[in-house]
Assembly symmetry: C2
Homo-oligomer: 337 residues x 2
């Protein structure tokens, strides 16, 4: 029987921490106008990306990100044990069709915008558990597919409240391996669903902040660590208002995140110059920031130990219309350079 | 470093096969009129199940199935390491809300109707990999939520072609543990996405049969086993036409499934007496047959070794309307009494 790897209530430690061998980040035009442009592998100026629908464009983005991560590691799809992927589209069709193109045994995930971290945590377990040598992980979103599925037809030109976030057009992919050079995944904390009664789908940051706080506090407690044990605690897509709430909630538990915290939704756009209201969101937001900026900073040794925390709002337009509150989740992994 | 557990291209063998400690199967009224009624824990006569929407009824069904499996094993939610669950609803909201109620660290899955087997395979990996002592797995579907989301408003009374299947109202839950008494999960084969160009969402069996054949043939090849090594090869929800195709496809690869094969979609309804056309389908179909009939037959020793094969069609109404063909997947696990 293998030694138990569980620490505390929610965290696992990897005996042989799996390695991030390569990543790829593809982003849309608006994201390319933001401060993280130099960290993207490719910026797609055409929202259709040469396809005849936004959904097909998103699928192509995800497929190319996955292929690019493989190419960087000089691997063929046949060498990869599992593809773990998901997105925001109904029935995660971007991931399903990208998986069809690659032909890798496929585990479909749904963790809303936390999906890339859900995949990273699971992928590390599959490798450390002895079930895989290579796992490919991917997630994507597209402003126009998300708008028309979750909100209004884009042609409608609906006014957005200040708390609304801008869904990132982008896809990220991570190739995780048993051995090699790169940042390592040392721990994972799988989140619980938290719902403090938020009902406004135009303020997703408020719905997700309590889940992020719960996972971060559980993680630190499980490992007996402090905020200062991390160079950076990077949340997925809380945005401006969600971040404020996260800081306040963590403070109640005795943790001052302060300048150690940043949020992918705040980093991806220039809030002063770009009209994105409370910041970026969507599966693609943590995916491209993690696969671009974070991977590069860690590979260069400028960040040594990071807690990456994917955050997802688990409602649907149907549950909102039926009067439900918004459940949310956050999954965290520790990355060490 | 743990010993590699991969065999052949797609199959893993568990060093300490995890145990199915308990299951629960809750089914709807029409399912309760079928031949498997005695195998269900509860039959729900009211499609609303006392709630004010079908979606909330489905969520409640899933939550109760999960709670019942826990209760049978005399466990509290706090003792369970992970909940792995998913369903057919957009953004898998039945699973998300059931996860909220239970408070167990939650990994959301989307494998369409293959979800219960995707969860069983992953859950066994998490336990055998040393990351969990107990994993709870669940999946559900509801005739009325699926009809209105994927097809037509039920009030429309749309005529169904003979190849159409009837979405099962039901939820199944499996409690998997590291030790104890019960059928064991000895191997898992994660499927690839297969798409032979089927375009008719009213004939899902035809779309899924090639994926089922691919996974079964890969599985048998990986382990060097024959059909007769299994007392039963049980597919998820191919229905009448899908089964015919599966038998023909496997024959081309030199495997005669014959009487060793059955399909949950054929078993759950009485095709002569119940107006279900090609049989049952939906996440709940393999879930309730596996958690009811199969678990009971194996616990009683009437079936000793079974290959359970979940089958899922991975399209969405949007991809169908945009002219895409239907990708499908099948995940298999070996259960031994």
């Amino acid at each position: 029987m293998p030694a138990p790897k569980k620490i505390g209530s929610q965290t696992v430690a990897f005996a042989q921490p799996p390695v991030i061998l390569a990543t790829a980040a593809l982003a849309g035009a608006k994201e390319g106008q933001g401060p993280l442009r130099p960290t993207f592998d490719k910026v797609i100026e055409d929202p259709y990306y040469g396809e005849d629908s936004w959904e097909k464009a998103e699928r192509r983005l995800l497929q190319e990100a996955l292929e690019k991560a493989l190419a960087k590691a000089n691997l063929q799809p046949e060498q990869v044990d599992y593809l773990l992927a998901g997105d925001l589209l109904n029935q995660i069709v971007a991931a399903n069709f990208a998986a069809r193109a690659l032909g890798i045994p496929y585990v479909g995930l749904y963790g809303a915008c936390a999906t890339i971290y859900e995949g990273l945590a699971l992928g590390a377990m599959l490798i450390d558990g002895g079930f895989a040598d290579y796992v490919l992980i991917g997630s994507s979103s597209h402003y126009s597919t998300a708008e028309r599925q979750f909100r209004f037809p884009t042609e409608h030109g609906s006014q957005r409240p200040p708390t609304a976030q801008w869904t990132v057009t982008g896809a990220g992919a991570i190739l995780l391996g048993r051995q090699g050079k790169g940042p390592r995944v040392t721990h994972a904390t799988i989140g619980r669903v938290i719902d403090l009664g938020s009902t406004d789908p135009m303020n997703m940051g408020a719905a997700m902040a309590p889940a992020a706080a719960n996972t971060i506090v559980s993680h630190l407690g499980d490992l007996g660590r402090q905020v200062t044990d991390y160079d950076l605690i990077l949340t997925g897509d809380l945005g401006y208002y969600g971040r404020e709430l996260l800081l306040a909630l963590c403070r109640e538990y005795g943790y001052e995140l302060g300048e150690r915290h940043n949020d992918c939704g705040l980093m991806i756009f220039d809030r002063q110059k770009q009209d994105v209201h409370a910041g970026g969101s969507g599966c693609g937001c943590p995916a491209v920031v993690t696969c671009g900026y974070l991977f590069q900073e860690m590979s260069a040794g400028r960040l040594r130990r990071v807690l990456g925390v994917g955050t997802g709002a688990l409602m649907s337009p149907v549950t909102t219309k039926q009067g439900d509150t918004i459940p949310a989740i956050a999954h965290a992994v520790v990355l060490e350079a």
